[in-house]
């Protein structure tokens, strides 16, 4: 009974590295890599973890986000490749893939991109009628989106940065409280959310295992988002992002963990189907 009661204990205070550790969802943060170069070529895979508000119940890993950076160091534009997989109830999957060209400025301003959004059913077959493919580029204070159905312009009020870009940009930022950056967010390369501000908060220290761990903390606040807290190691590698009940945890095993989650969702779906049909359908 004590265990059950503990599982229903609410989180109580804002998610942080220490809290995620207490909840058992953070695991081990990869050790700092002195060879990591934020403006070089790298690939980071994050496990997307959701919290239902309880310490030890309903904390799931419904997805992962893989971001890869390529392109020259220095002032030239660089490229980001993104793959995000989200597993829904009934084992449906949403896959988002993007290739983005970005400026090497402080907010990794978007230049152009190609993006596809696909949904898979419980059998991992693509649901054709839910597929969307877009090419986009920034033009003045607007973005132009091309799809198979036409070309559409959207006003943005200035240069834009996607949430995926920000995972890159924050790694190139100085650990300097005096230099916040302001930008317009194009969330998921589609939703326009202006007036964002990102600033360095300082050093965040917490107890981890036998010792203390130190991370560098940035916060983003703006229209249409819950605050984003970014945590980086001393070599500027982004290891953790928390926004509201959702966390992105750097984890090389993320894809396997999400696959396990999908299999569990599939099992639940089949069980539900069995119950509904009395076992008459496979």
């Amino acid at each position: 009974m004590a265990k059950k009661s503990d599982s229903r204990a609410v989180v109580g205070s804002a998610l942080s590295p220490a809290m995620l550790l207490k909840m058992g969802v953070l695991g081990k943060i990869p050790p700092p890599d002195k060879d990591f170069r934020p403006d070089g070529a790298w690939a980071n895979t994050y496990r997307i973890c959701t919290c239902h508000g309880y310490l030890h119940e309903n904390n799931d890993n419904p997805g992962f986000l893989r971001i890869s950076r390529t392109g020259p160091k220095g002032k030239a534009d660089f490229s980001l490749s993104v793959l995000q997989k989200i597993v829904h109830d009934d084992a449906a999957v949403c896959l988002s893939e993007a290739e983005m060209s970005c400026a090497t400025d402080r907010s990794a301003t978007l230049r152009s991109w190609k993006m596809s959004s696909r949904f898979l059913d419980h059998d991992e077959k693509i649901v054709g009628e839910l597929t969307d493919e877009q090419d986009g580029r920034v033009k003045g204070g607007a973005i132009r989106i091309k799809t198979s159905s036409g070309t559409f312009d959207r006003k943005t009020g200035g240069p834009v940065t996607s949430d995926w870009d920000m995972f890159e940009a924050v790694q190139r930022m100085e650990f300097d409280v005096s230099r916040p950056v302001r930008f317009n967010l194009l969330e998921g390369l589609t939703l326009n959310k202006g007036e964002q501000k990102l600033r360095y908060r300082g050093i965040y220290t917490f107890k981890s295992g036998d010792g203390r761990q130190t991370l560098h903390w940035f916060t983003q606040i703006g229209h249409g988002v819950l605050p984003y807290d970014y945590y980086l190691d001393r070599y500027h590698r982004l290891v953790l992002v928390i926004t509201g009940p959702r966390s992105y945890i750097l984890d090389d095993n993320a894809e396997d963990i999400v696959d396990t989650h999908r299999k569990e969702k599939l099992r639940q779906y089949r069980q539900k189907l069995e119950k509904m049909t009395g076992g008459k359908r496979s």
Binding site: V11, G12, H52, G53, C94, D121, E187, G188, T219, G244
Partner: protein, 479 residues
């Protein structure tokens, strides 16, 4: 057949002129169609209908309606494109019961969905089943259902776009709107479409509450400390409340956690961000209608299953019969047929009205025993409703609310404390007049309204406390 109108619900020999004096204004028929209707005619049918459902949206969360603490460009567009109703109420301030009522036009006690996680009683048809059977509309559902499963691949009468993650609108809502956009782009337009896009936000405020129960020693985001919304005028409340309400409040995060005023304000700030999050998804839907050639002939209906406490009466979450729980947005638009940027502050409307309104517009009879009414006359500027009251039920069949133009009456089963509020002079519901001698006749009249309304319902056999209610209503109506 609608039963909650003056003509169908005689109240006997009572003198209603006092507290119902404002009802007459709603009944005035306006001769001829107003200029803004343009090419409208009575046989016109919308080619497509899009129902946008949000979850747990307080009515006062739209910038264009005057809320200064939030930016909602998409909701603003919707409001400016059509009608918004100020006196709009859910039939039940809890998810499943409210949704069952919206999609069947029957009260939650009639559908049998008196609390979360119960299916609609057979054979009451839902909107998808009814339109599939009676019309050629393609019926498509994406997102939260919750009658009984929160997200499911199987909803009677609908082709389901399987999307959604229980309790995580922050992850799944964007996929719901993306799937709807793709579907609108890729489908054949040969048939008319009824699409439901049912978002989970701003319901994630429930997760926020569990995560932020405790007041931190230091405010986490000092840069917004000066931007936090003020507390509502009715943050303090009349302590003469029904026992169940007082008890429930004590278990909720705000009061239980002994929150500081700053933490209450931070909670409100966070809730507004949840509103902005779903607003962006609604924006994607509106852009999609524009992009793919639907906007000119699509009726859009936006509503929410129930409201959110937001600190009014120091309440958080849903389930209360105070306005923060039961009052919900209702925006309806259809280019050239429904007036632009009209606000209706006079007619009492309910989630129960959505099904009969849609049936009216697509030219079919609604299912039997609708408890709501078509709003078409109001939307087209021809007539107001003759309705003088609406009734909402509450979770587990424990409470009832009667809202008339002037008053609100609240009663809970087996609770001696009744509530009566003068909504004209005390819209924040802070002074309970139920025990005030001067309002005794208003109290009697509302008891009688409720008694007669309840007597007209076909309550499902699984609903608890039905006999208790009947006895209580009868004895109070006689008192």
């Amino acid at each position: 057949m609608n039963t909650n109108t003056r003509s169908d619900m005689p109240i006997g020999s009572m003198d209603r002129r006092g507290f119902l004096k404002f009802a007459g204004a709603a009944s005035i028929a306006i001769a001829g169609a107003p200029g803004w209707l343009g090419a409208a005619n009575k046989d016109a049918k919308p080619k497509n209908i899009l129902i946008i459902a949000t979850d747990q949206q307080h009515i006062d969360t739209i910038a264009a309606s005057g809320c200064g603490d939030v930016k909602t460009p998409a909701l603003d567009r919707l409001k400016e494109r059509g009608f918004s109703f100020k006196l709009s109420y859910t039939n039940n301030p809890v998810c499943s019961p409210a949704r069952a009522a919206i999609f069947t036009g029957r009260t939650s006690s009639e559908t049998g969905v008196y609390k979360n996680g119960i299916p609609v009683r057979t054979p009451i048809p839902n909107l998808g089943q009814w339109l599939s059977e009676k019309t050629g509309y393609e019926t498509v559902y994406a997102g939260k259902w919750h009658v009984p499963s929160t997200f499911t691949t199987f909803i009677p009468g609908f082709k389901v776009i399987t999307t959604g993650i229980g309790g995580q609108g922050n992850v799944c809502d964007t996929n719901i709107s993306k799937a709807c956009r793709a579907y609108l782009q890729n489908r054949s337009k040969a048939r008319g479409l009824l699409m439901v896009a049912s978002f989970l936000q701003p319901h994630d405020i429930c997760e926020w509450l569990r995560i932020n129960t405790e007041v931190p020693d230091e405010f986490r985001y000092p840069e917004i400390a000066n931007d936090l919304p003020e507390l509502p005028d009715n943050f303090e409340y009349d302590t003469n409340e029904p026992e169940g309400i007082r008890r429930t409040r004590m278990t909720r995060e705000g009061v239980k956690g002994n929150w500081t005023k700053q933490h209450w304000r931070y909670y409100r700030w966070s809730y507004y961000r949840h509103i902005e999050i779903v607003d962006a998804e609604i924006g994607r839907l509106l852009d999609s209608l524009d992009d793919f050639g639907y906007a000119g002939d699509t009726m859009i209906i936006l509503t929410s299953d129930h409201g959110e406490g937001m600190g009014h009466h120091q309440w958080v979450r849903k389930s209360t019969l105070y306005d923060e729980g039961v009052s919900v947005p209702l925006l309806i638009s259809w280019p050239r047929h429904i007036g632009l940027d009209k606000t209706n502050s006079n007619d009492l409307v309910s989630g129960l009205d959505i099904m009969p309104t849609i049936c009216d517009y697509v030219g079919i009879e609604p299912p039997a025993n609708m408890r709501g009414e078509s709003l078409r006359g109001i939307l087209e500027g021809k007539t107001g409703l003759e309705r003088e009251f609406i009734v909402s039920e509450s979770n587990s069949n424990a409470g009832r609310m009667v809202r008339t133009k002037r008053y609100k009456y609240i009663s809970y089963v087996e609770d001696p404390v009744e509530q009566l509020f003068d909504m004209e002079n005390d819209p924040g519901e802070t002074k309970n007049l139920a025990g005030v001698k001067r309002y005794a006749s208003a109290l009697r009249e509302h008891r009688q309204i409720l008694h007669e309304w309840e007597s007209s319902l076909d309550v499902a056999p699984n609903v608890p406390d039905v006999d208790l209610w009947r006895r209580q209503l009868q004895s109070r109506a006689r008192a």
